[in-house]
Amino acid sequence: MAPPPEHRRPIKRAAISDQQRRREVALRLQADRRSDAQNRARQLASSVLSLGHEPETEPEVE
């Protein structure tokens, strides 16, 4: 009997294994957490930046 063409999804099997999924989820979580850490650093900077703007606007208010 001829073997199935390699690219055909093995019959009655899930498209990706849970192992592959675990790997992908781990990589995605790492990417998300990296982006969260960088965004946190930026939010901190933004709040400092907006604070930094306050003295400039204060004279106008006065």
Binding site: M1, R9, I11, Q19, L27, R34, A37, Q38, A41, S46
Partner: protein
């Protein structure tokens, strides 16, 4: 040899001297020559051979196939096989109507040869033509349909399989084209869809349904089985994905007629047909049918006397849960009411023969997956204890290593853990000592035969995978995190012992579990570092199993975020290894972008202490940046890789800039600013940035301004991207890109004005 020499123009006479043999009278010389031409075409890039030689090769090959002029069937077979390899060379010839007609006529005639091997080889050519020259097929489709129909119905199995493969291949093409149509680049698809499948549907579907009745008695027992029924079912599934709703009315009569027949083949074929069409048609079209069929399926899984029917029924139930249930489906076919009945049947079937039990585990996997985003109202909640008990029972079955059963049981267990919530977390927590005990037993086991060791490795991988999923889940539920941490020492102790195994998969799984543990433990993970470090280094050095290296690089990132500056004592070793990896030609290229991102993670964690690495890391980043900014992408893969590389580089710059923020050593970065800006300018000019790169580039522009302030103000003002890119992104659809643009603008304004 030709594969090596021809691209360097070192063997120019080869093809000509081969072609001169074609006119030999002796059959074996002709046959040998055609075989050699075939091998040469298989090995050599089409661009290496000039069109004149291509023409002569194709003429020789097609003449060799022609039954009216070539009497030897050995020569005709060699020619047909040579054509298969030479098709990639025929781009120009396929644009010429006359030449294409001639090639197609000879191939179609060869499918009718009296020699089965020639027929098979000719159908293999048709399959290759269907994917390489899809857009040229329209004038031949009617003839090809008739030829394939006859082959599927009457010919020997190897020929029939190729005839079915032709239609599967057409489906692949049309699915890709239609996906392109649906994607954001609407209308950009280079090849138009000819809707061959839709047109052939009324005749194609009955032909495929017929094949489903040609099952082999024990095909479910044979891992490598591939026969007409399996190929037909696979093709039917692809047809359903290609045409969607239109397939349903064509298949339903077959299902209704056969699903209750006394002959098991008919019941199985009907069930298989049903399972095959569940992906593609809309849930709205399928749901009413599935609602009626569900009870029937559950009864068949419990009571059908035939294992093959039960196997296909359990698979079909899994497909129902996969495609008609879950957060993405508007109205799930699973309700609070039928969920209990479904679970009762699935859990009962897990005691059935291994292949049926394995499919029942698979069905439970998809049932649970549908509740992953459900919050606390999952109807699975009352059954968690029973589910875990049964799945653990399955993993201990004597025959659990047959038919992938144990793997399926652990995969289902993982999925149920993933859909746990506050309410079910205590039950998941009870699993931890059970899994740890199992893992402990595997690390203690000694003097195993090689077969036993293989099984042991499989089991260790599964148990580490299960621990990883549990750690991730328990770490994400605030109320469970602290209770979970009482197990952390023991889990870590076990995972370190697992590294004694020499198996790559086991290492990878253990590494992933440790990454999850580091994230959950946070700074407390520091106490494990002295023992763990050697394995971390080992992972980073593992070039051969590059997946392990990639995962370990990711774990370094997890450690940075968990330990922050407590990772400092290990950074010399880690940075040395990462720099070595980047310089290596042996390491798989996919690991390099994450290594750059990892530089960013390290810099963000240790701040100005990164200074001593700047002299090594920055030149690496600069040369990679230069290379990736100027890449002219030849294909989608290369473009994707280039963007991954760019993103990694930008993430490194962001991490380094943010790490140095507010430090007295900030000045150390000023000399690099011009290059960073130039990198972004070049990419912006090239117009091939994807959204992720765009967002990262905006981040770097902001970070540069924020960290270096007035030191880079004038430089940023001169940069084209800082102004145009930011303005462009301020009105982007993606809110994350808009936010990044706003942040960058704010930071730059301040730097320029300050």
């Amino acid at each position: 040899v030709a594969g090596i020499e021809l691209p360097h123009k070192q063997w120019p006479e080869l093809i000509n001297s081969l072609l001169s043999n074609i006119h030999q009278v002796e059959t074996h010389v002709k046959q040998g020559t055609l075989e050699t031409l075939g091998y040469v075409c298989e090995e050599v890039d089409p661009q290496v051979v000039d069109q004149d030689q291509v023409n002569r090769i194709l003429t020789a090959v097609v003449q060799g196939m022609n039954a009216s002029t070539e009497t030897s069937s050995e020569v005709r077979l060699a020619a047909t096989r040579a054509l298969y390899n030479a098709l990639g060379f025929a781009q120009t010839n396929f644009t010429n109507d006359m030449e294409r007609d001639y090639i197609m006529r000879v191939v179609c005639e060869a499918t009718l040869s009296s020699d089965v091997k020639i027929r098979q080889a000719a159908f293999e050519c048709l399959v290759a033509i269907s994917s390489t020259y899809y857009e040229k097929l329209a004038p031949y489709m009617q003839d090809i349909f008739n030829i394939t129909l006859k082959a599927v119905r009457e010919d020997e199995e190897p020929v029939a399989l190729q005839a079915i493969e032709f239609w599967s291949s057409i489906c692949d093409e049309e699915i890709d084209i239609l996906d392109d149509y649906r994607s954001e680049y609407t209308g950009d698809s280079e090849v138009p869809c000819f809707y061959f499948i839709k047109q052939a549907l009324p005749a194609l579907v009955p032909m495929l349904l017929e094949t489903l009745l040609k099952q082999e008695e024990d095909q479910d027992q044979d891992e490598g089985a591939w026969n007409v029924a399996m190929a037909g079912g696979t093709c039917l599934g692809l047809v359903a994905r290609t045409v969607g709703d239109d397939i349903v009315p064509l298949v339903m009569p077959f299902i209704e007629e056969n699903i209750s027949k006394p002959d098991w083949r008919r019941r199985e074929a009907a069930t298989y047909a049903f399972g095959s069409i569940l992906e593609g048609p809309s849930p709205g079209k399928l749901a009413p049918i599935v609602n009626v069929a569900l009870n029937f399926m559950l009864a068949a899984l419990s009571r059908d006397p035939n294992n093959h029917v039960k196997d296909t029924t359990a698979w079909t139930l899994g497909r129902i849960f996969e495609f008609l249930h879950g957060a993405a489906v508007e109205t799930s076919v699973i309700t609070q009411e039928n969920c209990q009945q479904i679970l009762t049947v699935l859990l009962q079937s897990m005691k059935d023969v291994p292949n049926v039990a394995e499919k029942a585990c698979g069905a439970l996997y998809f049932l649970a997956q549908g509740y992953e985003d459900e919050g606390s109202v999952s109807p699975l909640t009352p059954f968690f204890q029973d589910i875990f008990q049964m799945l653990l029972f399955v993993t201990h079955r004597e025959d659990a290593t047959e038919k992938n059963l144990r793997t399926s049981a652990y995969e289902a267990l993982n999925e149920v853990v993933r859909c746990s919530n506050d309410e079910t977390a205590p039950i998941v927590m009870q699993l931890i000592p059970v899994i740890m005990l199992e893992l402990h037993q595997t690390v203690e086991a000694q003097k195993l035969t090689s077969d036993e060791r293989d099984k042991q490795n499989d089991l260790q991988g599964l148990l580490c995978g299960c621990l990883q999923v549990i750690i991730q889940k328990m770490g994400s539920i605030e109320g469970s995190k602290y209770a979970f941490m009482q197990y952390a020492d023991q889990i870590m102790d076990l995972l370190l012992k697992v590294f004694a195994s020499r198996n790559a998969t086991v290492h990878e799984e253990a590494m992933l579990a440790i990454g999850a543990l580091a994230y959950t433990a946070g700074p407390n993970f520091a106490k494990y570092m002295p023992q763990f470090y050697q394995y971390l280094e080992m992972g980073l050095q593992n070039f051969e199993e590059y997946q392990i290296c990639a995962i370990t690089v990711g774990v370094v990132g997890d450690l940075c975020r968990a330990l922050e500056d407590k990772i400092l004592p290990y950074c010399d070793g880690i940075m040395t290894q990462l720099l070595k990896n980047l310089s290596s030609n042996q390491l798989h290229r996919s690991v390099k972008p994450p290594i750059f991102s990892c530089f960013g993670d390290i810099a963000l964690a240790i701040g100005e202490n990164f200074e001593k690495y700047l002299v090594y890391a920055m030149p690496m980043l600069q040369s990679a940046a230069e290379l990736s900014a100027h890449v002219v992408s030849q294909d989608d893969d290369m473009l994707e890789y280039t963007n991954q590389l760019r993103n990694g580089i930008l993430e490194a710059y962001s991490g380094i800039l943010q790490g140095f923020k507010s430090s007295p050593k900030t000045q150390a970065l000023v000399p690099y600013a011009a290059h960073v800006l130039q990198f972004i300018d070049t990419m912006y000019g090239g117009r091939e940035m994807d959204d992720a790169v765009m967002k990262s580039a905006l981040g770097v522009l902001g970070d540069l301004a924020d960290t270096l302030g007035s030191h880079v103000g004038p430089l940023i003002s001169q940069s084209s991207s800082s102004k145009d890119l930011i303005e462009e992104c301020m009105v982007y659809d993606d809110p994350l890109i808009r936010e990044s643009a706003e942040w960058a603008k704010l930071a730059i304004n301040r730097a320029v004005s300050g």
